[in-house]
Subunit: 372 residues, 2 copies
């Protein structure tokens, strides 16, 4: 992996960059659609390419449990298995073990847990996570971290951070493949000094990129932005910065302005399936009765397949009827919205009008969001 | 609607024809994917066009209940509502009232029933069915018939047939729009004399096409073929003949050879969602363990998006993981199989090698099917 900065904004910390991988280039800042279990839900690879997606996210935890990372390796790796020719980043399983698995037990050595699929017993250590991710063969892989729940006590956050740092070092040491970039993950809860320490200690281990974990776990917007304002300025400019699990359209704008390069979130795909749709003027809850005879497009400012061809009335109907096409058309639109937002942000960085972009972005929206 | 015969096979009753509608031409014999409730499940209109679909089927019963045929009319009709620019045929609701509705009560006047969606009370008469179908605005609409269950007694089948004939006449009389072709439906169960009578009486009413209803309801293949052999020779050559709800790939081949022009069936789309896939060498149950590491395409003789891009191992995995992409890729393949079969049959008629086509079709398949 190679990363270059193409342009640094002068008024904000936003930067335009390019990650080069064996599976193509990724222009940053970029949003990675989440393909947890080997499929970005409701989408084909061809549709993702049409939307301009350059990298997707896969999950070590899910793919290890099913179909099994060894099976994926035998079938030629994740790219080939899911027929995705562009870049892939896999998460290490740290967060998923927290959020999905049952009977989780964390020790210094690793984490034992029960599969959420069938209750079978499993064990993932930093070494095992790297082995799984080497079997999957993504372009970027993540260190195995402990992601704590929110809220957490200072002592718990500190102990967990220290363990995550020791695990990060073990991940670094056991990595065998040389064609995968390994990113470290900064934890530390919502304690400024822990986040600072987490960042500085991780820097010394020398990863190819740095991620902020443990965000969007229930904290306020202000708390999240404080973490960004604390950590991002410490990170080396020449390495990509990844906000894991982030976030809303507003979060993306604020993250980009603070100098983040990569984002992933289930929000556009998951909300699509529950009928919550992102538009340039705010969110639309498509099941609402007001749309029953609404012939207009979901978002007149959008040129995705959904908005070009279907009315709000039809989208409402499909959602209420439980048609698969509802999930499809909604997902196409929400991903298009996210991808277009990132494209517009990149254009704004290129043209030196990031501050103006941010103002216009908020002024268009119904529920104006003003982080202090 | 206009129908012309382009070529009559000399060795069989198969014929190549063309139906012209205000929404384009349909080359026959043709298979109509089922878009019961305003969506061919898991497919976009664009994908159907890519597969070469020229006409789809919609359902008066479903669309009357939700979103309401008056709502569809206000939104510019079914074509516009679902964004489908090619031809549509709507079924009258006769069959759906039988198979879906609760507390059904049939009188000479019509059918009262409870909605399968919310238990609300409704009433559909022949006049009401035509009104619904005129509101929907399909290119071809169907007379409201009584479809009896199998098995049925001779007396029940006769009474029902006679009522269906009286209802057909009422449908003819109450039709107001002149831009929709009305097809009559021949019932009569599996009694040769009733089917003959049904066909002859219906002919006198002068419909623009004739359908055989009450097929694929649990009877044997031989019983179905006997009905085709009884009725199809009686029908006027210059009118399209439609086998409603038919059927398996074998049924399509046998129907075409006996001179049928139109077919519809939920089988390719519904089976796709349950993982039963049609291939040139028989059916594949994709969840079977034998495919866990199978890198080959589902059907090496198929050039659909699914077969060109994904392995059996991935299709098996997606099915077991319950991914929406499983329903999508399976539906694309199954519909492609059906559409390709019909295209190959049309080509065989054009080139005068229908008998040869039929022999090769059966010889390729694992479970050879030999109707006596």
């Amino acid at each position: 992996m190679k990363f270059i900065i193409l342009r640094q904004d002068t008024e904000t910390s936003a930067r335009l960059g390019r990650i080069s991988t064996a599976h193509g280039e990724v222009t940053t800042p970029a949003f990675l659609p989440v393909g947890t279990a080997g499929s970005v839900k409701a989408m084909t690879p061809a549709e993702l390419v049409d939307l301009g997606v350059e990298m997707i996210l896969g999950n070590a935890y899910h793919l290890y449990l099913r179909p099994g990372s060894k099976v994926v390796a035998e079938l030629g790796g994740l790219h080939r298995f899911i027929s995705w020719k562009r870049a892939i980043l896999t998460d290490s399983g740290g967060y998923q073990v927290l959020s999905h698995a049952k009977l989780r037990k964390v020790t210094e050595e690793g984490v034992s847990f029960q599969s959420h699929l069938d209750g079978s017993l499993h064990y993932i250590s930093p070494e095992k996570s790297i082995e799984i991710q080497e079997d999957l063969g993504a372009d970027i892989i993540m260190a195995f971290d402990e992601c704590i729940q929110y809220p957490a006590s200072y002592d718990h956050a500190r102990d967990s951070l220290e363990r995550t740092l020791r695990w990060a070092e073990r991940c670094r040491r056991c990595q065998r493949r040389t064609d995968q970039a390994l990113f470290g993950i900064i934890q530390g809860g919502f304690f400024r000094d822990l986040r600072e320490r987490g960042a500085k200690d991780l820097l010394r281990l020398g990863f190819e990129g740095f991620a902020l974990g443990g965000l969007c776990v229930g904290e306020t917007k202000e708390m999240m932005l404080e973490v960004l304002d604390t950590v991002l300025p410490i990170l080396p400019v020449e390495k990509p910065r990844y906000l894991m699990g982030v976030g809303t359209p507003e979060d993306l704008v604020e993250g980009v302005i603070r100098g983040a390069d990569l984002f992933d979130c289930v929000m556009p795909t998951r909300h699509a399936r529950t009928g919550c749709l992102f538009t340039s003027f705010g969110r639309v809850i498509i099941k609402n009765a007001q749309y029953v005879r609404d012939e207009g497009p979901l978002d007149p400012n959008c040129s995705c397949y959904t908005c070009l061809n279907f009315s709000r009335a039809y989208l409402r109907y499909l959602f209420l009827a439980g048609e698969i096409l509802s999930a499809r058309l909604n997902t196409i639109h929400n991903l298009s919205y996210y991808l277009t937002l990132m494209r517009d942000l990149r254009q704004a960085i290129m043209e030196g009008r990031v501050v103006e972009f941010r103002e216009r972005f908020y002024s268009l929206r119904e529920g104006v969001y003003n982080p202090q």
